[in-house]
Structures are given as C-alpha cells and as structure tokens.
Amino acid sequence: MHKRADAEHHPSRRAVLGGGCFTLAFLLTPGRQLRVMSARAQPTTLSANTWVSIYADGTIEIMCPTSEMGQGIFTSLPLILAEEMDADWSRVRVVQAPVSPAFANPVHFKSQGVGGSRSLRGYWMPMRLAGAHARTVLLANAATRWQVPRAELTTEPSRVIHAASGRSISYGEIAAFASLPADLPAPTEADLKPQSRWRLIGRDVPRVEVPSKVNGAATFGIDVQRPDMLYASILRAPVATCPHPLYTQAVVIGPTRIDDRAALAIEGVTQVVALDHGVAVLGTDYWATVKGKQALKVEWQTGAKSERYDSLTALDEFSAIARDPSRKGVARGNTGDVAAAFETAARTLSGEFSSEHVYHAAMEPMNATASVRDGEVDLWSPTQGQTWARDTVVKTLGVAPDKVRVHTTFLGGGFGIKTEQLTTAEAVLLSRAAGKPVKVIWSREDDIRNGAYRPAAAHRLEAALDAAGRITGWKHRLVADSVLLRARTAQLDQFKGFDVVVMSGAVTTYAIPNKHHEFIHQDRGIPLGYWSANGAGLTNFAIESFLDEIAGALGKDPVALRLELLGEPRGKRVVEAVAAMAQWDRKREGTALGIAYSDGGEWNCKCAQVAEVSVDRRSGVVKVHKIFAAVDPGIAVQPDHLAQQIETGILFGLGAALRERITIEDGRVQQANFGAYDLTRSRDVPEIEIKIVDTGHRGMSGAGQPGVPPVAPAVANAIAALTGARMRRTPMLPERVQAAMKR
C-alpha cells in the first residue's frame, strides 16, 4: 500500500527509519531561484520547506505540492524531480506536501492548489531545478569523498559513477555522510538534462497510488477518522445561495427559527448548532445525524435575489439581451474595425446558442474534518486549494496562519468544485463549538443543491463575409451571470467587468481581421463556480457550431475552413491529424462526422475532435459512435495519463453536451440525486481514439481540461451534417433534437 505519510507528522524521521537522513531543503523564491535552507537533517524544523529527502537505505522522498484528484499528479510531478536528480524511480516515495509558500504554484494565484490545468505548467521548472540541485549536491559529496574533480563524475539511477577509477556509490550511501557544500551555485536551466537523456519523462510508469485504489486503502477526505470524532449533517436554506466564506460578495440565508427537540431525542445526536447559513446536527454516529437533520424544523430568512431565478426563463431573457444591440457589456481582445467590416460586408450571418447549468458530480461529495483545540487547527480535506483552505480557516476562526495545519487527502474527483471551501468553514466552526474533531459529510442531495454550477449562458454570434467568401468581421456577445463576481470580485474588477472565467475561449485566435468579444453580465444571485474547462465549454460550442454554419453558407468544407482560419502551425497540425484519423472525406452510411477545434487558450494544449454520430429520427436520441481526438500538449510527461485526461475531458464534455443539466425554479435546484441528473454511463461511451501529435512544440501545457470544449460542437456539427438540424442549446436532449429536425 502506498504510504500516505505527512511530512509534518514525522516526529523524527531518524527515529522512524533508524538510519542517517540527509535532507535537502529548497525554498522557492519568487524569481524561481532555489535557495538552499540547510543540509544536515533536522527534520522537525526543516520538513515544511523540503522537496526531497534521501535516506541511507536508498529511499528518496519527494514532495507532491498539490492534490491528487485522478489526474496523476502524484506520479508526474515527483517524476520530473526524479528525472533531473537521476533517482531510481522504484525507490521513490511520494509525500503530500504541507501548506507552505515553498510549494506555491507560481502560475496559480501564487498559491497551492490545483486548477486551470496549471500544475505541470507551474511546477515543471521548479521541480526540474530542485532535482538538478539535489543531483549536484550528491555529486559534490562523492567528489569530495573520492578526491576527484566533480566533472569526472556521472550518474546512473540513484548511483554516482567515477568511470576513470571504476568506482560507484549509491545515493543512499552518500546520504549517510553527506553535507552541503557552502559554495554550491544554484542550478540554472542550462544545468538540466537534455531531452535525449530522459529516462522517465515521456515514458509511461505505473501510477504510484493505483495499488491503494484497488483494495480500499487509499484515504479520501470522507474516509478520515480521528479519535473521539463527531459527525455533522447540515440543513441549509432551500434556495440556492452563496455563503462561501472566502467570497467577497457572499449571499447568506440563515435560519430564523429552529425546532430541534425531535432531533435531540435521537440516540447518538449530541448537539444542534445554528450556523449563519444552516443548522448542523452533531452526533457520535453519522446516521444518527442524518436522522436528526430530517427531524429538524427550521424556518429561513427570505429575500435572496436567487428566489426569483428560473433557469430556463433566464436563458430566454439572456438570449433576448444578446440579440438587442442597445444592451452593452464589456468587450475585450477586440481587433480591427468591426463596424466597418460589417458595413462593407457582402453578406452577414448570425447564430444564437445557449447552454444550461451543469453540475460537477464528483463521486466523493463535499466533506471536511477539523480538529480545533487550544487555538490549534488541523484540517483534513479533499481540497483543490490547500492555501485557500488555510485562508478560510484563518478568516473563519480568526486564528494566525501558523496555527493551521492542512492535511490534503486524495480527492474523489474535483473538476473545480473542490476549490470551494464552505465545508472547511463548517468543519472548523463545528469542531470549535463541540470541542472535538468533527467530520462534515454532505449528502449527495446537499452536494447537488449547494453546488457552484457552470453558468447558464446565451450567445449571439455574427460574421461579416466579403465577396470572396472570407470572414472579415466577427462579433460574439455572451450573456451570463458571473463566476468571478462573488468568488473573486477583484479579478472581475481587474478586467473591468469582463469575466475571464465565463469568457474563456471567447477571444478567438482564428485569423479574422476584425473581431469583437463582449460579456454582458446578468447578476441573478446564483452560485456559480469553476467547472472543468470553464467558459471554454460554453464558448467553443457557440464558436465552432457557428463556424460550421458559415462553412455551410459558403459551401466550404468545415475542415478546410478551419485550416484557412488557423494562423499558427500547431492548430493546423492537430486539425489535419484528426481529419486523417477520422478519414474525414469518407462517406458513411447512417452516420456523419462533425469537427471542432479548441486552441486551448491558457492551457496551451491544442485539441481537435471529430465526432461520428447517428440519430434515431423518431425519438431524437443521438448516438455517438466514436470520438477522434488529436492533441498537441507540447511535452507529454506521461503519455498514458495525458490520454486518460483527454478521455476524461471528452466524457465530461459529452455528458454536458447530451444529457446533463441543472434546472432551477424559484431559486430551488430541481435535481436531488443521480436519478434526475443523468450522467454518462458505460453504455453511453463511444469508441475513443486519441492521438498525441508532436508538432515540435516543447512547452509545457495542461491536460485536465482541453478534452472538454470540442465535444459538444463536434457532436452538434455531426448532427447537422447528418440531419440538417442545427442544435443551438445544450444539453441536446432528444426532444430538442426532434424539434430541430422538424424546423
């Protein structure tokens, strides 16, 4: 079983392991330079800033700075360090890092957390440099021991070699006597291994934590057990609100009257605690708290803005606003003279699209366990944001940051929702109230109804075409509520009200000379959050569907039109690759193909997909037979993980395209469990063929999200190719497909 040691909780590594421990500690400064903190093992004081520890028995402990939620980060990040260090991978033990500035991701809010497909992009260079530094220290010690020049030494996995004298020594043996040379220069990118000498990067290795996930040993947040622990079930307001403690514009609807007599009569219930945003039933037995919650009688405050929200009505309103030129939003990334392009156009086209809310449906519902005692706080959480978790505790309890220890467990799925910190606040407040450790478990119903959904959005796109059939002008107006307004108001202000999360992917990179991209914000008080690929899942559906409509109007082939519009070679290559994989020009009997392309924006991962679909014309049911995906991630650290991540994205996107939706009426989420929230199952899964295309790009990208955006438009374009029916709203439910075919 994989050991889930937490470095902070080794009372003494020396004592635990019985051998000499040589700890290399690096602190990452903002300039990404490594500063050596100390060499000799003083584990109780050094562990918080340590990336790698080498033990005399040859064990090499490498810190994973962020959360394993299925994306393979527990393997791929430590592997990067091991590569540069030339460590024997079979002797590496991965340790979950504590919260420390040393482990912050430089491209993720300078905090520890996982999101935005940023882990490899942020940690790639720091972890390579840390590995190179560790190797240099080992070489220096061997050189001193043997009295030979360091330049004569080479390394094999976990061994230093002196070829001239035929000597070699293992890293563990060096660790037993090593000290840190005072004059050791910080490594630079010039010290790194060339790609030709990589032993690990680019070659699939089994994931380190997989064995613990086939026998029940892996510890997820919901599995945490503490001595004398209580459980909590929490009743919250029936309307969707935004009580999240770190939110700058939280909306809190609380209880006005609580009758807890029946709850307290249940054996195992110990306490009922009123919170600002709910009523918690605590007990020694989880099921007792569930029963207690059911027995509560609570009246709630009213007046939340969301009480007036009806998601389908809102989408119609949003569509009308998008259509109305007098309604102005905030534009960004505009180029050229759009007005002139439309005035001089030989013809113009327009298209309207919309998407309903969707929910994360991570299989592990939200939960957290906290122990607040004597001003010290321990939090065990399946969190995508360790630093945000700590900040939430600090803000909620008013304690100093150094009094808070965040213990990151494995995550049973994240997809964005586990950046949210409401469970963190609940757990610490309740532990303080009870004076004991408390585990807060959200039921699936809690999880669905207190989500932070992907925004419902309506788009209007317009294109100006010249007499030669070229697209000379482009307008994209998107109307939606904002993700950033409540979660990160400052970021919304930074972009002058242009919500970059909702508008992800809207600023198209297609070679169109005059472009306009506009966000029109409708604040409806609904809790929205990060959802895999964010707005790119919305905007790509609209853009790539509209592009097919333009191709149709011009009599152009959809692949040819995209190649014409792609200014840069990477995008061209993946589109060409996916067209070749799918045999784009081959006519099918009863099925048709549709293509879509996503440039990957910030992720820097290009992805083109072709969907092959058929439609049952009586029922309107769409069957997706196959998805072809071509992807250019730059360097694929672990090609098999990459393919898995793209496949996850495809199936995630396919659910939102065809069947998933959250509907809200009078501010109340209408779905309660998976019976009403229709997730993709085994029977729905198409054949999937993924090709990693090497375009020569050697940058680092993120793979968690790029598979998501092209699915919906590829499927919609295939439906249009097959039936002539243009799908304008997701999910493309059978009745919507039927209606579109009758039009």
Partner: protein, 155 residues
C-alpha cells in the same frame, strides 16, 4: 425509531457487534462504525454503485441494505476481497491502470468480481450491461471493460 439496537454482522469472515439505529444502511456501519472505509458513499440511492459489497457472494448496494435486514448473511467488502490485493480483478485493475481519482473503484471491482463468479466468460455486452450500474466521473469506463475482460482471462 429514536433508539439504537445491537446487531452482530459477519464481515470479511469475522463477527462484528455494533450498536446502531436499525435503519442504518450497512454502508455507514461499514464505513464509520467499523472504519472499513474502502466501501464508498456516492448517492445513497442505488444510482452510482460506489457502495457495492458482496452479501452472500452477490453484489449488493450497501446503501440500500438496512443493518436490521442483514442478519447472519456473510458480507465481503473490498478490504476482504483478497488478503493481499491479488484477486484477478484487482490484478487486472492495476494492469489496465483503471483508477484515476479511484473513488468509485471499490464498488466497480466488487461488482466485477461478483459478475465473473457467476459468468466467468462474459461477452463485452454482458460486461457493459452489468458495469453500467456504476458511475465514474473520471470516465474510466473503457478501462473498466478492458480490465474485466483481462480478469476473465486470468488477471
């Protein structure tokens, strides 16, 4: 029902006596009373399969089985599937690198083991018909099918 009762359950070959409410789903007795946390809560409504264990050798939703209805029927959880993680299904799961987040996998593995016990040579259609009772948000579905096929060949 406001009072707890005592029940004795036969779990992974050992008798376990617990004091819980009689309507407590077996799932929560396993997870929180007995700390056998490999069996997972996903929905509490027989929709996702994360909670599947074996009762008398057959796949059963532990979230739908009140402890009062278990009686002396033997229960096997993921922790008891094999002493050393070498059940053919577990071996196949590792070989195919099925788990991503891994949360749903205990239930899937228990379902697959029960399927192969009853139908050692399932067709792909048999496998999908059975395994589609399980939800996996990471979308490991194709690897699940490949792993069941591999396990049917011996792991």
């Amino acid at each position: 029902m406001t009072q707890m009762v005592t029940a004795t359950l036969l779990i992974n070959g050992a008798a376990q006596t617990v004091r819980v409410h009689p309507d407590t789903p077996l799932l929560w007795v396993l997870r929180e009373t007995l700390k056998l946390t490999g069996t997972k809560y996903g929905c509490g409504a027989a929709q996702c399969g994360s909670c599947v264990v074996h009762i008398e050798g057959r796949a059963a939703y532990s979230c739908q089985t009140p402890v009062s209805e278990v009686g002396n029927r033997p229960i096997t959880t993921i922790e008891g599937l094999s002493p050393d993680s070498t059940h053919p299904v577990q071996r196949a799961w590792i070989a195919e690198q099925v788990p991503q987040c891994g949360y749903c996998q205990s239930g899937q593995i228990m379902r697959a083991a029960a399927l192969l016990k009853q139908n050692p040579r399932p067709t792909r259609e048999d496998i999908i018909a059975e395994m589609q009772l399980h939800l996996c948000r990471c979308g490991s579905y194709r690897r699940v099918v490949a792993a069941v096929e591999r396990a049917a060949r011996g792991g």
